[in-house]
Symmetry: C2
Subunit: 453 residues, 2 copies
């Protein structure tokens, strides 16, 4: 069988792999970019509604500090617009609705003070963590043996404050506070400035959208890689030694190169065969980095009807029967039809991912109606995307280190194995879990290779 | 390409898969048993020393309650013998040695009382857990949001007691107390009677060995399945619908059947391709069941020299520089040469798995010498086995549910997906993680199939 040769192979045409391949090509390297799917973008993905409007069903936001992302947007002639953030936000609590403005829902003063304390205290701890080496912190061992839930329980006696804080955690990590290491949560927040930044709209990680969807950036980079990109090429096996690699795809095609960059999530790395087998410490680290559980739900209405009532479309619901705890006005600026968006996260995602599409749609709309009234029951279109059932992703937004994993394995998160290097947002020390982190990781991996060649 | 047909396919010829295939054959079913390796046994494996003696480098013990295992031993004409358990045990603490008898090392009374309290309290909690549905316990949510380390910290002020308890946890789970959900630890202990039972020799899970090694049982079952067993057949892809499955192996061979039983660890299930893709909840559950980290080390001496000094060969070391915290006299009854055995577990396994074979051997022997004196530095042979680097296992003894995983996913641990059923010790409700659990799980999966056919 023929084996195509190149200087470098990149596996995974999400934004990290695309960026890495693009940078290597700019340096005059010959590159092959292998992608399992029939599309680029990875966890960035467009959906087209019946009326032709597009919406991101994957990652969608950029905000201050995402310098690489804004630069890419500009470079490819794309445009951003701010998330609609005018009017009042809604809080649903004990079956009744209240309005508030800003990021923090208006609970009664005792609970509000407790919530403020949790947020302040969390970010104070996070600010002391070095995101390039969280395991070196003097309290790393203690925090890595503690879940965020356990930390919350010890730091607040207010049940509503804990529920509200948990909703923030779920919105950022897409898992329950019981599932994540406190050290990982602190690292993650610090890598994206602060938890306050990660849950904020204006000035925060939810500030801006990209016209045409984030997949537009991926497609624009891919357009410049027409000769390098191979879609529908799931990689099954990697033979490797110090001098180079040979990669075998499901369709039997083989590619060889001096170096290889993986830009796929940890759980997907587990599914590649390696010859010789990788060191136990790499494999076991990836076993301890499960992906989050998230279903993104978007309802399309004739118009954004909530705006006329002075509402922003943003809401937070603390009651346990609400399967969507946070909503946003996801309308693309300039479009007539209005979009409400919400996430089903953590244990709810596991539950509702097993239900029928129709039952889930009904439940989501019923939930939207609890925030925005019966008009929310009659969308003109609807889409949801369960990322846990996507074969080539198996969970969103990102992987979270389990308890004990940062202190047990974190020191070799990015360490190459011979000719194999690692990119992807789960290897980022800045903006881990975000597009920006995917780009930072790509640049780090490319630098590793260029500085040694 | 030809496709071989059978009533049933079993994947994985560890003791669970072998037992399942044997039972199905007894019922007159045609069975194909596919195994990736060139041997049967899975996590049961013999090593032959230069002098021809055999030793288990995988799982080795059986004890009271392992009724299926004792029955198999008898059925195949094999014989058990008790672990050598005469003489005094050693405790190494603050660089000095003390002797004690029984399971619990002799610390000073304050620490000893605290250790007793931790063990008693843990087993009291464990006894309240239903091992068939641990997530239903009234405190399941609380315990699943807590690591064993956090529980220890709250229940003992004695550092030596916590270190001693942690050594027990590491010996049972092969991970650090920071890494496991308290609910999982309680479930696991309860599924094997009690933690006290799991750390005990006489009357406990370390009571008996099998002459010729546990792999002898596996080989004996395999001898009865000569027509069914296919070694060197790693499974790559499973096409499945309600009516049946087609399985494709790395060598291109295909097999089809009405039903399929997987008897491989969770991390290995992640590496199989499914068409259609499995539900997100299954895949994400397995992502949250990382395998333990364990290197088993055995030194062979001309004779068991410690016995003449009135020592049992059992020792416990609390000092942090000891990479092996627990040792046993692993000598097979009737052999002249003596064996000392110890495990490197958790973070130490990750560290020492990356060192050279020679460096690790030297460190282990130095550690043995700290317990048993300089005679331990001069073995006639030595072997160690790092199960995290074994491609078809990737960790031992078993998988542990991460925090939040039992309550988020546990209710469908054993649920079949169409024609696909699940065995293996990680699906057992009795003796999870043990050979006995592997047999119980096999019988449960076989019953699922026979009761519906």
């Amino acid at each position: 069988m023929n084996t195509d040769k190149a200087d470098l192979i990149v596996i995974g045409a999400g934004i990290s792999g695309l960026h890495a391949a693009g940078l290597l090509k700019q340096q005059g390297k010959s590159v092959v970019l292998l992608e399992a799917r029939d599309r680029v973008g990875g966890r960035s993905m467009n959906h087209e509604f019946a009326n032709g409007d597009l919406v991101d069903v994957g990652g969608q936001w950029i905000g201050p500090g995402h310098d690489r992302m804004y630069a890419l947007v500009k470079q490819h002639g794309l445009k951003t617009y701010p998330l609609y953030n005018r009017g009042m936000n809604l809080l649903r609590f004990k079956q009744s609705l209240g309005e508030y403005s800003g990021t923090i829902p208006r609970l009664n003063p005792v609970h509000l003070m407790q919530l403020g304390w949790l947020l302040w205290r969390f970010d104070r701890l996070a600010s002391s963590v070095n995101p390039a080496a969280p395991y070196e912190h003097q309290h790393a061992t203690k925090w890595d043996a503690m879940t965020v839930q356990a930390w919350m329980n010890r730091n607040s006696f207010s049940e509503p404050a804990r529920v509200a804080f948990a909703i923030g955690i779920k919105a950022v990590f897409t898992v329950e506070p019981k599932e994540i290491s406190m050290l990982h949560a602190l690292f993650y927040a610090r890598s994206g400035r602060s938890l306050d930044c990660l849950i904020s709209v204006d000035g925060g990680a939810q500030q801006d959208r990209i016209h045409g969807g984030t997949q537009g950036i991926c497609q624009a980079i891919a357009d410049g890689l027409a000769g390098e990109l191979r879609l529908n090429h799931p990689v099954k096996q990697v033979q490797h030694k110090l001098e180079g690699v040979t990669v075998s795809c499901a369709n039997g095609e083989r590619f060889s190169a001096r170096k290889l960059i993986f830009a796929i999530p940890p759980n997907q790395l587990l599914r590649i065969g390696f010859e010789p087998a990788l060191p136990g410490s790499k494999d076991q680290m990836w076993q301890r980095m499960p992906a989050g559980s998230c279903i993104k739900c978007v309802a399309q209405y004739e118009k954004p009807f909530w705006r006329a009532r002075g509402l922003s479309g943003q809401s937070v619901g603390l009651d346990s029967e609400l399967l969507v705890n946070v909503t946003f006005d996801n309308t693309e600026k300039g479009k007539t039809a209005g979009l409400l968006m919400g996430f089903i996260e953590g244990d709810n995602a596991r539950l509702w991912g097993q239900r029928s599409d129709a039952a889930r749609k009904q439940a989501v709309l019923t939930c939207f109606a609890r925030y925005f009234g019966d008009e929310a029951l009659s969308p003109i279109d609807y889409v949801d995307k369960d990322w846990t059932s996507e074969e080539w992703t198996r969970g969103c937004y990102a992987a979270n280190f389990g308890v004990g994993a940062w202190t047990g394995f974190g020191h070799h998160l990015t360490t190459p194995v011979g000719a194999i290097h690692f990119a992807g947002t789960e290897t980022a020390s800045e903006w881990y879990g975000y597009f920006e982190g995917a780009l930072q990781a790509a640049e780090r991996a490319v630098n590793e290779i260029l500085s040694h060649s």
